[in-house]
């Protein structure tokens, strides 16, 4: 593949990335948008081409199925696609790398057909018919409701939704929704689509059973009682965490929530911006407005960007309330048994990780976090279970072919 050069390069084509690309191009900049997925839309608009189309412009170059695996030089990305490797040069870079689910290990969580809640939805959106299949949705956060509704509308037998947060926290959150009419409408619509599906609060999975595949899941309530539910699939995720690996490689400052940015969504690295879930979990509307601000700022129209600050403030307030309502309970730290695998790439059990005193030691002694996912899955678990923050990121940030690395 030939090398390319743009004013603005956007990494990630979810709502935030689409908004960035649209606004930067509107300002007359040459723009390229790239994403690991074959189509734009990110996760929330996976398979929803109509939603993405509202933000797509003909003058934005699209590089799909592309992974950034290194920063070979100043203002340059090394990118691998199915066809080969290329360099993409930029004057402004916008990281709209989104978020992933947080997974917590419990006995049986590695069985086939135990997936993320969003993971199961993604598989359904990818063409997998699940009609008539028995599904349990568990974990935490508003995503569980959205996934259950999506599956139910497609004829899936959603047995129940297990939310680890207590009802009291959700009720407090519900009261605050009154200040956000659009969100309240979403909540009501969701509820209507879920009639008949039990939504059980203070409830979480403690084990999944099956030989070669999932057969049932055992759930615990806050009062200590348990129940076992037979099912074909378990969709389980404990909220979302920001994808910050590329930002870390670029030297951007990262806080506990995500990539740190100023009011124009610019990181401490000049010319590098971040928008959307990568800067902290906030949902669709916040991602869009952050993307627009970053796009205008990178396009040289800070006046237009500033006009959107008030909207962003309102969405951020909502995000903060959301985080509080769905905070993970301490009991979940006891989910993994000593023999439960924490690192699924290298099959490292909890007892071996717990015997180490920090991430570095765990990596060196057990290979935890050293496999193909580079700690993207076990990192979020270990952060919650043991309080270890992941360490420095080194290239390649994604497994790359030897030919790509040798250039």
């Amino acid at each position: 593949m030939t090398d390319r050069d743009y004013d603005v390069v956007v990494v990630g084509a979810g709502p935030a990335g689409l908004a960035v690309a649209c606004r930067a191009a509107e300002c007359g900049r040459s723009v390229a948008m790239l994403d690991d997925n074959p189509h734009p839309g990110g996760q929330i608009w996976r398979g929803a081409a109509k939603e993405s189309a509202r933000w797509l412009r003909g003058d934005v170059a699209w590089i799909g199925g592309a992974r950034v695996f290194d920063i070979p030089g100043p203002q340059q990305l090394a990118v691998e696609t199915f066809e080969g490797e290329c360099r993409v040069a930029y004057r402004s870079l916008i990281l709209a790398t989104g978020a992933r689910e947080r997974f917590l290990p419990f006995p049986g969580w590695t069985l086939p057909n135990v997936m993320g809640a969003g993971g199961l939805q993604a598989l359904a959106k990818s063409g997998m018919p699940l009609a008539g299949r028995r599904v349990v949705i568990a974990g935490s956060g508003p995503l569980l409701l959205a996934v259950a509704r999506y599956l139910r509308a497609r004829g899936v037998d959603v047995r129940l939704i297990a939310e680890q947060a207590p009802q009291s926290a959700l009720l407090r959150f519900g009261m605050r929704l009154a200040g956000h009419p659009a969100k309240l409408m979403q909540a009501l619509t969701l509820r209507a689509g879920l009639l008949g599906v039990p939504y059980i609060t203070s409830c979480w999975p403690v084990s999944a059973q099956g030989a070669e595949r999932l057969q049932s899941v055992t759930l615990r309530r806050g009062d200590g009682s348990t129940r076992t539910e037979a099912c074909d699939y378990l969709g389980c995720g404990f909220g979302l965490i920001a994808n910050v690996e590329l930002a870390a490689l670029l030297g951007c400052r990262i806080s506990k929530a995500g990539v740190e940015v100023d009011e124009f969504q610019e990181t401490l690295e000049a010319g590098v911006f971040a928008a959307g879930e990568a800067t902290g979990i906030g949902g669709l509307e916040l991602s869009l407005v952050e993307g627009e601000i970053a796009g205008y700022a990178a396009g040289g129209r800070r006046d237009r960007a500033a006009a959107l600050f008030a909207a962003r403030t309102s969405h951020r307030r909502f995000a903060a309330a959301l985080e509080q309502a769905f905070a993970l309970r301490q009991e979940l730290r006891n989910l993994p048994q000593p023999s439960t695998l924490v690192c699924r790439c290298e099959d490292v059990a909890m007892e071996r990780v717990r015997a180490c005193s920090n991430w570095r030691e765990a990596k060196l002694h057990t290979r935890c976090g050293m496999g193909p996912c580079q700690g993207r899955i076990c990192g979020g678990a270990v952060e919650f279970l043991l309080g270890w923050q992941s360490e420095s990121v080194r290239p390649p940030v994604f497994p790359a072919r030897v030919r790509s690395l040798s250039r």
Partner: protein
């Protein structure tokens, strides 16, 4: 564009809706075990979005392809780790 695509999973032909991902085609073919882990455990998709690498399969002879990120093409040959 035709509305379906025929490919093979472990040698057996399977027809899926056009635009479906290889991960979905494997599930439609009735296969739960996409790969075996380093200690031999059966594994299938987890994240569905290209992050976890649990759904790795061999596509047209190329090993370690994340099946959730590859769109099915006519005649594609997919092998799980059996």
């Amino acid at each position: 564009m035709p509305d379906s695509v025929t490919l093979s999973v472990n040698g057996a032909p399977i027809t899926v809706p056009a635009g479906a991902m290889v991960s979905a085609a494997i599930a439609i073919a009735g296969v739960d075990r996409y790969r075996r882990s380093v200690t031999g455990e059966p594994r299938g998709p987890l994240c569905g979005m290209g992050i976890c690498f649990e759904c790795r399969v061999t596509i047209d002879g190329r090993a370690h392809c994340r099946s959730c990120q590859v769109v099915c093409q006519p005649g594609m040959e997919v092998r799980t780790d059996d």
